[in-house]
């Protein structure tokens, strides 16, 4: 009889104290009750942004955190999702939910094409290529007005308010619950991924892809899988954004700064952890909204300045983000779940 390792014999994952019911149940109760407790539209807008970026950050995290392929070009997938569903809605009247799926498929396909040259590179060079592709595709969006309406942008048609139409004209509450469900589902999926075979393959590639190959993991194949999943999810976030904001143009929807913000949410929270992107988004978005309101006029570059400084400080002092701090606390705390291991 062979003994397979069970969940109980595996070591506790770092940061798992945030995945216990004692933390998750109150958190879920809070986010579900949020729109009733805080009814002001600024609060609700910020809350939607937090959830949307938690979603996007997690999508990035699957590729950048778990599989270790850092991209600063995710705004491309975000833009593809937003544009695909919106243009399909305008030109063919396709339901936005179906448009979301088409957008996800298009983004995954584009990602696969980008991956062919980009995965020949690692580390710094891969990052560089993602920035390059981001700029190329954005240039295409600006300069192909027949398809994308170029710099003029796309206005979405107003539909009747309903979940089916993914549109609510009176209040933000509907949008809030939709993005909440999407985010909770993605986070649950990521928690599953962390313990799945696929998740271990990703981590093996991140730690040492040559060793992973030697053990029979087809590193390139799993990098493509991580990229396709990540791109498809990011595109779904893009469709939600389009349906919520109702206006798209290449400069505001897919600039480098959107790529930076998506990545930063995960980096700040802690790459390669389930709760990291949520913690990062919950800290970053409210802070940048407060700055925007306090300074006015779009903040005149103050938010990006703080983003930049935050990225530098995190990389110098705490490369593991907020989760690094949580893990340090876990190590100091008495280990109550190690029963039986000691002689």
């Amino acid at each position: 009889m062979t003994r397979k390792p069970t969940k109980e014999t595996l070591p506790a994952l770092p940061g798992s104290s945030l995945l216990k019911p004692g933390f998750l149940v109150p958190l879920l109760a809070f986010v579900v009750a949020f729109p009733w407790v805080f009814q002001r539209s600024t609060f609700q807008n910020t809350a939607i942004l937090v959830l949307l970026y938690a979603f996007l950050g997690q999508a990035w995290n699957i590729l950048g955190g778990y599989a270790g392929q850092v991209s600063f070009g995710h705004a491309v997938f975000f833009g593809i999702g937003a544009y695909t569903s919106s243009l399909l809605l305008i030109n063919t009247g396709l339901n936005p939910w179906l448009g979301m799926l088409v957008g996800a498929a298009v983004a995954a396909t584009v990602a696969a094409v980008i991956g062919i040259p980009a995965f020949r590179l690692t580390g710094h060079f891969f990052l560089m290529a993602t920035v390059g592709f981001g700029e190329i595709i954005r240039t295409l969006f600006v300069n192909l007005p027949e398809v994308t309406r170029g710099a003029q942008g796309v206005f979405l048609p107003l539909l009747e308010s309903s979940i089916k139409n993914l549109m609510f004209r009176q209040s933000n509450t509907g949008y809030y619950y939709i993005i909440l469900v999407m985010t909770v589902a993605l986070f649950a999926g990521t928690a599953w991924l962390e313990r799945s075979k696929l998740g271990y393959y990703f981590k093996a590639i991140k730690e040492d892809w040559e060793a992973a190959e030697a053990l029979g993991v087809n590193a390139t194949r799993y990098k493509f899988i991580a990229l396709a999943i990540s791109a498809a999810l990011t595109a779904m976030g893009g469709t939600f954004y389009a349906q919520w904001v109702l206006y798209l143009d290449p400069y505001s929807t897919m600039p480098l700064m959107v790529s930076v913000q998506i990545a930063l949410v995960a980096i700040l929270g802690g790459v390669g952890t389930v709760m990291g992107p949520f913690l990062g988004a919950a800290l970053l978005l409210p802070v940048s909204e407060v700055i925007r309101v306090a300074v006015g006029g779009g903040g005149r570059g103050i938010s990006p300045m703080i983003y930049g400084l935050a990225i530098i400080l995190i990389s110098v002092w705490q490369p593991n983000g907020i989760m690094g701090w949580v893990q340090a606390r876990e190590r100091r705390a008495p280990q109550d779940q190690t029963g039986g291991a000691e002689p």
Binding site: G68, V70, F72, I116, P117, A118, R120, L121, G123, H124, F125, L127, M128, A129, V131, G132, F133, E135, I136, T139, L140, V142, N143, L256, M257, V260, I267, V271, R300, G301, I302, S303, P304, M305, Y307, G308, L309, A310, I311, I312, I314, S315, V316, P319
Partner: protein, 286 residues
Amino acid sequence: MDLAVILQTLLSGVMMGFVYALVSIGLNLIYGVMEIINFSHGAFLMLAMYIAYWLNVMAGTDPVLAAPASGLAIGLLGALTYKLIIKRVMKAPALAQVFSTFGLLVFLEALAHFLWTADYRTVEKTAFSGVVSLFGLRVGLAKLVVAACAILTTAVLFWFYNRTKTGKALQATAISHRAAKLMGIDTDRMFLISWILGGATVGMAGAFLASLYNIFPTIGTTFVLLAFAVVVLGGFGSITGTLYAGLIIGLIENVAGIFAPAFKYAVVYALFIGVIVFRPKGLLGR
């Protein structure tokens, strides 16, 4: 299309190519010595352009003559970047190294936006204007002066890198940190020098470019992608390769500019990706 236009485009391409080479050399020098890519390289260039612009506005200095000042300032910025950030992340995971200079890029661009707004600025008082005839071709004097200065600066750098003791120590460090250390080379000092040189060369390039382009906070992103293309094409770690690749990219950009002006950078980026696919080592890569 007549021959004169073609020759004019080629000449213009070669001239800009020398400037692109100077823009890119610092990036490759730092990579060669330390295996770290300075993502804030474009922001260094942007700051140099602003230095040249403000010297022009306040003192009426021609941007080309502002090059020593901007070279010095950005060289100092390079030294600070090494001392305050790079030194601390050298032992950190590769991810942290990537983030740190990328964060600096975001920070510096936002700083420029905060200080000087997103307005496009143009250098107005230039000492060199008009058109001169060169081998029967008509060339803007400003561009000619810029190209000449870029060639001169690159030549000085090549002399320093290949002929001086410090330059040779830099090369030795690039080959192996450990072996260089065993030979008594202070590698920490070499790292610092590579950042100073990297900053100074891109700082001078920024002043040269200031009179030819509109200046705005994100101008660096355009050039840094161009510089990546140059470095990748020339081969990482090869300064000579960077010079050749600069010329090639300058030519391609100018030729593409005739046929599809809106896509001229897209063509350059596409070339960059083509090189990655077909010859990842570049022309003269190690």
